[in-house]
């Protein structure tokens, strides 16, 4: 199966059973790239972008003299910045990320995220883009600065493999630390189950957008978090805060689903409002599918 099947389309748990992160991620990326018709390279190029009216203070070297000669109007040429993409993966390694509703059939969110970030990194590094990593729980745990060398991937994978689930979740400091790593505009991939303080996290994400970064939020959800199940009556306890609530899952499943739908809707709306790309990722989704959505050319967004 491993020889002929495309690992990017397999069930994540099956992929994880095939071997370590390094091996299986390469397989995933190979499968993913072979299925693409064009490069997933995002829209940073040296090409001409557009004209706009000249405004006092514009550099004269960007004035389009031909238009001035034909129409007697001052226009300046605008170009996209010519650079390699610099990306930072910001990975949530809080205790809630170590949870799975069905250990036999579903990967814990953290294991899923490790493989997803590794695959994403390999794709970008193969495009000669640079990628780094920030792991956090209630504080920043690990920082791997972005590098574009392919050998950098080994370091990333090793770091990912060494990560263990921490305690609480504090995303804002980690997201703000991105600025230190990405001096120029780049891509921030925020991988988390978003069980955190939404207002603070959104503030930090908006800050990154203001700094001109493209921001991609991958919201990881375990299937057990989507559909509430359990014994007839149970005491549900938060692994991070130890908050608990006693209820009958059968009585509350419908209302819970509605609440979750609202939460996701609010995240989606808030992200869209600030030009942040939001993707909901169920941890049973094949890695290739998620990569395809995450690395699809972004619609034109208003920079910073």
């Amino acid at each position: 199966m491993t020889r002929f099947a495309r690992l990017d389309l397999l069930d994540p748990l099956e992929v994880a059973r095939l071997g370590g992160i390094e091996v299986t991620t390469e397989g995933v990326v190979e499968g993913f790239l072979s299925g693409l018709h064009r490069s997933p390279r995002r829209g940073f190029s040296v090409e001409f972008a557009e004209h706009r009216m000249y405004q006092p203070g514009d550099e004269l070297r960007y004035v389009d003299w031909k238009i001035l000669g034909r129409n007697d109007r001052l226009y300046v040429k605008q170009y996209e910045e010519e650079t390699n993409l610099r990306a930072m993966a910001v990975l949530d390694v809080s205790r809630s990320m170590a949870w799975t509703g069905a250990p036999e059939t579903v990967l814990p969110k953290l294991d899923y995220a490790r493989r997803l970030v590794a695959a994403l990194s390999l794709v970008l590094l193969r495009q000669r883009d640079a990628i780094g990593l920030i792991a956090f729980d209630d504080e920043v745990r690990r920082i791997v600065p972005p590098r574009a060398r392919l050998s950098h991937w080994r370091q990333l994978v090793q770091t990912l493999a060494e990560l263990e689930a921490g305690q609480g979740t504090a995303a804002e400091p980690a997201l703000r630390r991105v600025v230190d790593q990405l001096r120029r505009r780049g891509l921030v991939v925020f991988v988390s189950d978003l069980l955190l303080d939404r207002a603070l996290a959104l503030t930090a994400l908006r800050f990154l957008r203001h700094r001109g970064h493209q921001v991609l939020v991958l919201h990881l959800l375990d299937p057990g978090e989507v559909d509430l199940a359990g014994p007839a009556e149970a005491r549900f306890e938060d692994p991070e805060t130890r908050e608990a609530v006693v209820l009958r899952p059968r009585d509350w499943a419908g209302a819970y689903r509605e609440t979750l739908r609202q939460v996701i809707g609010e995240w989606r709306l808030a992200c869209r409002r600030h030009g942040i790309h939001y993707h909901q990722v169920i941890t049973t989704t094949p890695f290739g599918t998620v990569l395809r959505e995450a690395l699809a050319p972004a619609p034109a967004t208003r920079a910073g």
Partner: protein
């Protein structure tokens, strides 16, 4: 005020606690489940907790009310319909006690007149939509429209039959059982204590009773005519009186229309009168008391047979038999003659004992066969046993006996048995004894019952059984096998021998087989009718649970009372249905939410 037809069903209200108990029993410390998205659950419960709690409370309430409504419906709730004229269509069984005691004269008029008047008032309340039945002492429920039944009540006379009030109430309940209309029973009676038997009325029961006390009364409880047949010299009768009259009462007795004999009798004592002789045949003996307020029990009739005493040829060789014949002869119960041969097979009626010498048994059996006797002597049995207790012999020890074997199919003619085998049998005019009347064979000759046995053997068994039956009008009285006709005066009834005959009236009835009279039946009032003492109301309520005991004139007002009650079973069932549907809808809504 709501009433209940079956209040005991309200005990089922305890079941209303079941939903609450189930809820409490289901509560326990739940298991802990680690779940990262608890914050979403808290948000969810915060928003829906009140609604869900309300739903749970509503479900609990609906389920509890559903059980309550079903239990209430089962208890048959009723509500008086005040201010509504008439009554809803109902079913009513009117029991009118016209037993002999209702013939007692009270304040110058028969008790039955009061009962009839109350019965007509009850029937006057009936509407064409009501179903009405009438039960009298005849015991058969008769259905009819109120006008026809009122006419029947108007023509009703005192019946010679006793009415068992408990049985009548049970019969009324059976009549009402298939009725869908609300039913009720009205019993109009003198409440004679001896007629009150326990009953468990299912339908509402109203008992109308006279408010004035019954008169003192005395009646003839028993007329005994002694051993029969009487000789032509006459016989003796014994008259026993019952009642609550303490005075000495003149008693007159006579044999048919012959000169009467008079005596003074008292309640609780017996008077013996000697009646003069009469020619052979069947005669009617009548005993009559001086008149009192209840005339029906002042007379008692019996039938006697008068016949010449048997002429018996006794064997002097048998010590005990000879002695018995001597005593009977001295008491004029037999004479010396050849009408009956005692001890051996004679030319006419015979009482045959087995021979002392077994060698003679074969000759005896052959003689019996030649005579047409269907019984034979079989093997000698030396095992001691006893006769089976019976009217003819009683229980005596038998030491030796011959088995009596029937040559015909069946065992007809067996009078007494010993150890389960026939011991005293009759075939035609021959009576066979299984043992000799000797203490070496049976202890009968040295027992106290020997002389009565010999009298019975010679005067009745050997000459042909005299069947005398006794009973009350309406009772089934068995008749012997050969009887084909029952006659009273000029009236005759065809009967089947071995069956029973129900005399309709008081009197002497003769049992005929062709032109021969085989016996008689004496039909007299049930002696319990003499006792007019009424049962107290408290006892009535104890024996007939739920009965309303009222004065006779008030009974009509309570008739169709169940019809005047609004039956709330339907509304409660509809309520239960609505509650059930509501519960299902709410539960289904909750399942959809999930």
């Amino acid at each position: 005020m709501i009433g209940f037809l079956h209040p005991w069903a309200l005990a089922g209200l305890a079941a209303a606690a079941i939903p609450v108990l189930l809820h409490l029993l289901a509560r326990r410390e739940p298991p802990t489940v680690v779940f990262p998205a608890v914050r979403y659950l808290i948000t969810t419960t915060r928003e829906h907790q009140r609604r869900l709690k309300l739903q749970n409370l509503l479900l609990l309430l609906l389920r509890t009310l559903l059980i309550v409504a079903l239990v209430m419906a089962a208890a048959g709730p009723t509500l008086p319909l005040r201010g509504v004229p008439g009554h809803a269509p109902g079913a009513l069984v009117l029991i009118l006690d016209n037993s002999p005691s209702s013939g007692a004269m009270v304040a110058g008029s028969p008790r039955l007149a009061q009962l009839r008047s109350a019965a007509r008032a009850v029937l006057a309340r009936a509407t064409p939509e009501d179903a009405v039945w009438l039960i009298t002492a005849e015991g058969v429920p008769q259905r009819g429209d109120s006008r026809a039944l009122a006419d029947q009540v108007g023509a009703l006379t005192v019946s010679p039959r006793r009415l068992d009030l408990g049985a009548a109430i049970t019969a009324a309940d059976e009549v009402l059982a298939p009725e869908s209309r609300p039913g009720g029973i009205v019993l109009l009676t003198d409440l004679q204590a001896s007629a009150v038997t326990p009953a468990q009325p299912k339908a509402p029961l109203v008992v109308g009773r006279p408010s004035d006390p019954p008169p003192p009364n005395a009646g003839i409880a028993r007329l005994a005519t002694g051993a029969q047949p009487w000789s032509s010299d006459g016989g003796r009768i014994t008259v026993s009186l019952a009642g609550d009259s303490g005075a000495a009462i003149p008693l007159v007795a006579r044999l048919d229309r012959r000169p009467q004999r008079q005596a003074l009798a008292r309640v609780g004592a017996a008077a013996t009168l000697a009646l003069p002789g009469a020619p052979s045949g069947w005669w009617t003996v009548t005993a009559e008391l001086g008149p009192d307020e209840l005339r029906a029990d002042d007379q008692r009739i019996s039938a006697v047979r008068v016949a010449a005493v048997a002429g018996v040829s006794c064997s002097a060789a048998e010590r005990y038999v000879a002695a018995a014949c001597g005593v009977l002869e001295s008491n004029r119960r037999i004479t010396r003659g050849d009408e009956i041969t005692l001890g051996r097979l004679g030319p006419r009626s015979s009482v045959v004992e087995p021979p002392a010498d077994p060698a003679a048994l074969g000759a005896l059996n052959r003689a019996l066969a030649a005579r047409g006797v269907t019984w034979r002597y079989g093997a000698l049995t030396l095992a001691p046993t006893s006769t089976d207790s019976g009217a003819a012999v009683g229980r005596v020890r038998v030491l030796r006996r011959y088995r009596l074997e029937s040559a015909a199919s069946g065992r007809t003619g067996v009078i007494a048995t010993a150890g389960g085998d026939p011991w005293l049998v009759r075939s035609g005019d021959v009576v066979l004894l299984g043992s000799r009347l000797d203490p070496a064979w049976t202890e009968l000759p040295v027992s106290a019952g020997f002389m009565p046995f010999m009298d019975l053997l010679l005067n009745r068994l050997a000459r042909g059984e005299v069947s005398l039956g006794e009973g009350s009008p309406g009772d089934p009285i068995p008749v012997p096998d050969l009887v084909t006709t029952v006659r009273q005066g000029e009236r005759e009834w065809r009967v089947e021998g071995g069956g029973s005959f129900r005399p309709a009236e008081v009197g002497a009835y003769y049992l005929l087989s062709g032109r021969d009279t085989l016996g008689a039946i004496s039909a007299n009032l049930d002696p319990r009718e003499t006792l007019l003492r009424p049962e107290p109301d408290a006892q009535i309520r104890r024996l007939w649970r739920g009965a309303q005991v009222v004065a006779l004139p008030d009974a009509a007002g309570l008739a169709f009372a169940s019809g005047a009650l609004g039956d709330l079973r339907g509304p409660f069932l509809w309520l239960a249905l609505a509650l059930g549907l509501g519960e299902m809808a709410l539960a289904a809504g909750r399942r959809r939410d999930r």
